[in-house]
């Protein structure tokens, strides 16, 4: 039986982790390679680097981070942020990433999903989506870090992503992100019911039971969190132990 996945996300700017992680035994809390390794040791099922570097030069730094991480972390690595072209995807995968996550760029240029999937395979194209509730059971897609409403219906968009060849959806709720009151279950459920591809829940995890709740109440395949793990409020082990105790298959 397929295990549900717990995915820590590291925000990286110019090769440094934003909001340094206070792991025991790590000298440089801002070093993404060290942090990824620490999450690996905690039993993370996958690791996401989200590159928030603005400059073009910064991309090279991110690729170095991926290259170094891939030498010592042997679980799947996903890189998101700043991926705009097929060449960006190719470079990122060649550096050692297993998947790329495309967000705003995919909304503005859906062909990127299709081209990426056709060339590299569906499995390595994850579409990241920021969405917000606009009515009863209705959500729209935002871009540029949740700042710009594209007036694009979420359910229409996820179906389009699936048709274009996306291998996975990472769904972030703008309404619950940072609120720490749990994942956005109605939105998550609506998306999981609309597509056959795996859906990763993102945004809102604030306590241990939030993860199991998402798995028990929706069809999501994975749950992602950043600051909760960064600040060591919870470890990946603790989350997995809680899920396991509630009968959810975990690695």
């Amino acid at each position: 039986m397929l295990a549900k996945r717990i995915i820590p996300c590291l925000d990286v700017r110019n090769g440094k982790v934003v909001k340094g992680v206070n792991f025991e035994g790590i000298k440089d809390v801002g070093d993404p390679v060290e942090c990824a390794y620490a999450y690996n040791q905690q039993g993370a099922d996958e690791i996401v680097f989200y590159d928030i570097t603005a400059s073009y030069e910064g991309r090279g730094v991110m690729l170095d981070v991926v290259r170094e991480t891939a030498k010592k972390v042997f679980v799947p690595l996903t890189v998101g942020g700043g991926i705009k072209t097929v060449d960006d995807i190719r470079e990122t995968l060649r550096a050692g990433a297993d998947k790329v996550s495309v967000n705003s760029q995919a909304v503005q240029n859906p062909q990127l999903i299709k081209d990426g999937a056709d060339i590299f395979g569906c499995q390595c194209i994850c579409v990241g989506i920021d969405a917000k509730k606009v009515g009863e059971n209705q959500w729209t897609v935002f871009i540029n870090g949740g700042r710009v409403d594209m007036h694009l219906d979420l359910i229409d968009w996820v179906k389009q992503c699936e048709q274009l060849g996306a291998g996975e959806i990472c769904l972030n709720s703008i309404d619950t992100d940072g609120v720490r009151g749990g994942f956005d279950l109605p939105m998550l459920k609506a998306v999981c019911d609309a597509v056959q591809i795996p859906v990763i829940a993102s945004g809102g995890a604030g306590k241990l039971s939030d993860f199991a709740e998402a798995f028990l109440k929706t069809g999501c395949s994975a749950a992602l969190a950043a600051s909760l793990f960064h600040f060591r409020e919870l470890t990946v082990q603790e989350v997995k132990a809680d899920c396991r105790a509630k009968g959810i298959p975990m690695r």
């Binding site: 996945r5 099922d45 030498k71 799947p76 050692g96 590299f120 499995q123 056959q196």
Partner: protein, 202 residues
Amino acid sequence: MIAIIDYGAGNIFSVKNALDYLGLAGELTSDPEAIRKADALILPGVGAFPSAMQMLHDSGLTNIIQEEAHKKPFLGICLGMQLIFEKGYEFEECNGLGLIPGKVEKIVAPDMVIPHMGWNKLEMQHDCPILRNMPEESYVYFVHSYQAVVPDEYLAAYVEYGPAKIPAMVYDGKTVYGAQFHPEKSGEIGLQILRNFGGLIQ
């Protein structure tokens, strides 16, 4: 020296990274001589069956692999595992390497998410040297939409996915191994499997 066969398909660097990490000498190569001289072979691969077979043909490696795989430890990974069967049916019927009897078809699992992606638990079937001494709960990482259909005697381990029973490790009882999962992405368990494979080298 383990030759990691580089024919243009897939993330071969991950396999090399894992061998480096384990202190096993590995070399990415498409050179027939290097493949003949190697102590063991790994055939990686990500992508579609027909295009990968075409790339193998174009590299002129098909016959060499078919010969050498029966002489020394050979491990196919993911698509590289699927290529070892007689036929594939991804998009079109296509001949494989035919190292182990069987074929490759779309996973049939109604109501289940396809691709089968993530960590699944190995269910051991027949003894297989590179799966010995594994913990009871051994999860490994899969990403695929097609699966092998193989006679039971070649099935070393499988995983359950809804109603489907998906071959995870196949073994011909001699030198040919195939892993549908990615040992190079399967954490400690995967590293142990690669370490065991390295241990087969005489």
